[in-house]
């Protein structure tokens, strides 16, 4: 790790001001991705702007048909929240499947989304539920948020403040874990929103994506066999040490089917 300056602002405005001033600075949330990269000297920010003291960024609110979660809310809090479990059980379950206990106690929703790891879990819920990412500057629809490998619509210094998830009629997340990291080799979030069905896939491609064919088929009939025969193309999917694109493409169908089964339970 290289030396850096540490800041702990107490408001989003102060944090944004610091971020604007320090071009080589970085926002620090749970540190589960950023600090790892710093330890390996893959990231060497001049300044760390710790969002941990900003009360506005924390907490879970259920309001009518939606669940709003502050950017600094830890995965463990979402996983353990009685309100989330009641409103969107699939979301609480997804959070419970992230990494290990230590990671869940530190990692945050905002950090996960800003980081946009291709194998991260939250992006599947955000896109699958058609959530809205709220920043200090604007509201970004899920469909516009994820731009590619580790790439989002966020501008430099822009801070995610919360995410608003509309509660679906039924939904489920099923993840085939990477045996080493426990990230998703393939994770599929299926949501019957009441206005249609959304299917979001993480882990398989450079960025989370929707599968239109499955959404259409499930819109017609929300049952496992509706997707059992629908294959995604292996072209463009990830190939790494743990899984080839071909295997990932196959798993998308298997996980989608299982997610529908789970949503029906």
């Amino acid at each position: 790790m290289h030396a850096f300056n540490y800041h702990r602002p107490s408001s989003v405005n102060d944090a944004a001001a610091l971020a604007a001033k320090q071009a080589e600075g970085k926002l620090l949330a749970g540190g589960q991705s950023l600090v790892q990269a710093m330890k390996l000297r893959l990231a060497s920010p001049s300044d760390l702007i710790d969002l941990g003291a900003i009360g506005d960024l924390k907490g879970i609110k259920v309001d009518g048909g939606s669940v709003s979660i502050g950017a600094m809310t830890r995965h463990a809090e979402v996983a353990g929240s009685a309100e989330v479990k009641k409103a969107i059980p699939a979301l609480a379950y997804l959070a419970s499947q992230i990494g290990d206990r230590q990671v869940r106690n530190m990692g945050t929703l905002g950090g996960s989304l800003a980081n946009a790891d291709p194998a991260a879990d939250y992006p599947a819920a955000v896109l699958g539920l058609g959530a809205t990412v709220v920043t200090n500057k604007r509201k970004i629809a899920a469909d516009d948020f994820f731009k590619g490998l580790y790439e989002t619509a966020l501008q430099p210094g822009e801070i995610i403040t919360q995410v608003s998830f509309p509660a679906p009629k039924r939904a489920a997340y099923v993840k085939f874990k990477n045996p080493a990291s426990r990230f998703a080799i393939v994770g599929v979030f299926v949501a019957d929103t009441g206005k249609g069905v959304r299917v979001a896939v993480t882990g398989a491609g450079p960025s989370v994506f929707r599968v239109a064919d499955m959404e259409k088929a499930l819109g017609a009939k929300f049952a496992p066999d509706a997707v059992a025969g629908i294959k995604v193309k292996a072209d463009g999917l990830n190939t790494d040490l743990h899984a080839s694109a071909e295997y990932r493409a196959h798993l998308v169908t298997v996980m989608a089917k299982r997610a529908v089964e789970a949503a029906l339970k």
Binding site: L40, P179, A180, S181, L241, A243
Partner: protein, 788 residues
């Protein structure tokens, strides 16, 4: 009196220390004037070093020194030695290329040591290391041993242009060929025993201090055998007088073999501590451990088993290519030979066996002993062959084993070993019972109804432990002795300190050895403490590896105890005015036979140190004895494992649903500690079978599995709740009847798991599958067969 302690589940004496974070590891040692070392490592698998420029690094704040291979050469620092000489089939000694602690002219694997930067802080040294400018000329690299032997492959060392270290063989080739000629059936398998990265929880570390006052050195080092480390370092590398060097291996957080060896870092920090006249510490980062700890396994093997029409084994033929990595690590040469081919009889009466091994240099990290060391590889060969043979011949896999079990002991195998005792039928019966083999068909059917595939696999392993008689080892090429030393120091008030040359790095010796001593002396265990890991405290030691500690180290302690009791009897006889021959020692009391006269152990100890009433004319005061023990044979732990898996054919994911292990470790001192060892061993064995596999990029030689994100060691939820039991056939040639238990799990588990997986897939035409059997590879095997 005190209840017997041998065989009792006593809580570990070391638990409080370790569970409260009060252990003292090498990295915890901070010495006055401490400095820190960071190594510049090769980013290339193979390259010429054209130049190294130090000046920028030397100017960096806090940097004290930069040393390179040239500096070490100028100071006449020698290369790292190999402790075992293998003589090839051509009668020639193995090729021993130079192994400089810091590269000279060339680097041969990613992570090879190029320079060391010493700084006032780790950060300063690290910043300095980034400023060392090394100009490399990259060379083509080869990481696969079979490819390295091919014509035109890049040569690593001038003295081995074909990259071969040796070709070695064991057994009667002509007799084996004859056996195959008359076989009714031959089973043939070709496989890779996957390369593994050890991953001890504590990374390697070394902290050396030079004292100008008396021209002496102290090296704290995470190491499994401090005396061996000192011997190799002083005699072969640094040319220092042994008595001027103290090596301390304090608390050590796991080794699995990877901390047996003398590593470059240990030598360099020791040497540098004198140059700077300040202590120099190096602690590996995890990424460094991945590239620089000695790896394990990495065999490519063609194995054949010949049988008569009833499945009786007639002969076995094995050809193995072993990857040794870029240099010879300390014991690298004996692992794929002496500790491998000699185990190929397994538990069976195979009358003739021939094994040929070619050991090869490649542009990868050195390979050496890793939990099991040669014996897991041998067990994998034997048990995969046997299980496959049974399936091919439509025999029950348990039945084919029973038809071939060795039943009379001692038994001379055709591959040099003489098994003293065993009862293989007993462990197999027990394991089959525990694994409810009888109910398997029902469970398989039930799983099939859920769309899942079930398989059941066996492994009946044998290992040679307690390594071993020095004279035999010497005849086979060992350059060291393989005895052990122990000392019993009875204090005036009757409490006892035990000094052992064995080293504990997770094995719980402080408890087990104390149990042995307290039991034999009839003292409460609280009165006995065990000290190890410091050359200034321990008279000598060969350390801990090869499951040798209780069998060899424990016996040395027992021998010293016998001397204590013998001397105690003399003192007691004097105190009670009786004949020495009438004195009996019984659980803490010296008694005059047939009378009610007695003296407690403590009273005798007191008399030895306050010799007012003492036979000073015949006996020295004091009660302190030591013993060296060199065994007459290996010990032969053996056991039977039954593994049951369930495979999800849609994803290829394998779940181990049941694992039953029945081991014969001879006499068990502390069943709880033994179970812990078996749990760890099984888990590592399951890791090899399902998740672990070291991969280098075949073109660039970069380590692809260089972090826990990509190298998958198993977690608790990857393994089942193990069902364990033991059977005891006591070892016949040591007084405790013990055999050793440290490696068994890792030796037997891979074959059991792979036999279970291939059982599940057999009906689909899958005969063999490579380790690790990842979800994708299992899915592919199923998918290909379904598609075909």
């Amino acid at each position: 009196m005190n209840a017997p302690l041998i065989g009792a589940r006593i809580q570990r004496k070391e638990d409080y220390r370790f569970l409260t974070g009060s252990g003292q590891y090498t990295d915890d040692v901070v010495l006055p004037g401490q400095t820190y070392a960071v190594f510049v490592r090769s980013p290339h698998a193979h390259a010429k070093i054209k130049s190294i420029k130090k000046d920028k690094a030397l100017k960096a704040p806090g940097v004290l020194a930069v040393y390179t291979g040239e500096d070490l050469a100028a100071a006449k620092v020698g290369g790292l030695p190999c402790g075992w000489l293998i003589t090839g089939t051509d009668g020639q000694p193995m090729k021993e290329p130079p192994h400089p602690p810091l590269a000279q002219g060339k680097v041969r694997y990613v992570g090879d040591h190029v320079a060391v930067v010493v700084g006032e802080s780790i950060e300063a040294a690290r910043d300095g290391a980034e400023l060392v400018e090394v100009d490399y000329e990259a060379l083509p690299a080869v990481v696969d041993a079979t490819k390295a032997m091919q014509k035109g492959a890049p040569a690593l060392h001038d003295i081995a242009p074909d990259n071969k270290c040796y070709t070695w063989a064991l057994g009667d080739k002509a007799a084996v060929d004859a056996a195959f000629a008359k076989a009714a059936h031959v089973t043939k398998l070709e496989f890779v025993n996957n390369r593994l990265i050890p991953n001890a929880i504590e990374p390697r570390a070394a902290n050396a201090r030079y004292s100008r006052a008396d021209d002496s050195y102290t090296l704290y080092v995470a190491n499994q055998n401090p005396h061996v480390e000192r011997l190799l370092m002083t005699a072969f590398v640094l040319g220092l007088p042994e008595h001027k060097v103290r090596v301390v291996a304090p608390d050590v957080g796991g080794g699995f073999g990877s901390k047996i060896y003398l590593y470059a870092e240990d030598v360099v920090v020791t040497w540098a501590s004198r140059q700077l006249a300040r202590p120099v510490k190096w602690t590996a980062e995890r990424s460094e451990s991945f590239v620089s700890d000695a790896h394990g396994r990495d065999h490519h093997t063609l194995a054949e088993l010949a049988m008569d029409k009833d499945g009786r084994f007639l002969g076995m033929r094995v050809h193995t290519t072993a990857n040794l990595g870029a240099y010879l690590s300390t014991f690298a040469s004996c692992i794929p030979t002496i500790l491998y081919a000699t185990l190929l009889a397994g538990q069976y009466t195979t009358p003739v066996i021939y094994c040929e091994v070619t050991a090869v240099f490649t542009n990868t990290a050195p390979v050496d002993a890793y939990r099991g060391a040669g014996r897991p590889e041998a067990t994998y060969v034997v048990e995969r062959l046997v299980e496959t043979a049974a399936r091919e011949m439509k025999l029950d896999p348990a039945e084919i084993r029973r038809r071939n079990f060795i039943r009379t002991f001692p038994y001379q195998t055709p591959v040099a070993l003489m098994y003293d005792t065993g009862n293989y039928e007993a462990t197999l019966d027990a394991a089959m019972n525990m694994g409810d083999v009888a109910g398997f068909a029902r469970r398989k059917e039930e799983a099939a109804r859920r769309g899942k595939l079930r398989g059941l696999g066996y492994a009946c392993y044998i290992e040679a432990c307690g390594i071993a008689p020095s004279n035999i080892a010497g005849a086979l090429g060992a350059r060291a002795g393989l005895f052990e030393a122990g000392e019993i120091r009875v204090h005036p008030t009757g409490s006892v300190t035990v000094f052992t040359g064995s080293h504990a790095h997770g094995q719980g010796h402080e408890t087990t050895f104390a149990q042995v001593v307290a039991d034999r002396l009839g003292l409460p265990i609280e009165s006995v403490d065990v000290v190890h890991g410091d050359t200034s405290k321990i008279l000598f030691g060969m350390g801990t590896y090869g499951s040798r500690s209780i069998a060899v180290g424990g016996t040395a302690i027992v021998k010293a105890l016998d001397k204590i009791i013998a001397k105690g009897k003399k003192i007691a006889a004097h105190l009670m005015e009786a004949a020495e021959s009438d004195i009996e020692y019984d659980r803490g009391v010296f008694k005059v036979a047939g009378t009610d006269k007695q003296k407690a152990f403590g009273e005798v100890a007191f008399a030895a140190y306050v010799p007012h009433n003492y036979p000073l004319d015949k006996l020295e005061p004091g009660l302190n004895e030591n013993a060296f023990y060199d065994p007459t044979n290996f010990t032969f732990p053996a056991g039977s494992y039954v593994c049951e898996v369930e495979i999800d054919p849609d994803t290829g994911k394998t779940t181990i649903v049941k694992f039953s292990a029945v081991d014969d470790f001879g006499k068990v001192i502390n069943p709880m500690i033994v179970e812990g060892q078996v749990h760890g061993g099984l888990t590592q064995g399951i890791g090899q079978a399902l998740t672990e596999g070291c991969r280098y990029d075949p073109e660039t030689g970069q380590l692809v599995t260089g972090s826990f994100t990509d190298y998958c060691i198993p977690r608790a939820d990857d393994v089942p709740s193990y069902q364990l039991d033991t059977r005891e056939t006591p070892c016949t040639h040591n007084p405790l009847g013990v055999k050793g238990c440290g490696e068994a799990g890792a030796i037997g588990a891979p074959a059991a798991v792979m036999n279970a997986i291939t059982d599940a897939l057999w009906s689909m035409g899958v005969k063999d599958l490579a380790m690790p059997a990842t979800s994708e590879s299992v899915w592919r095997a199923i998918h290909m067969k379904r598609a075909a």
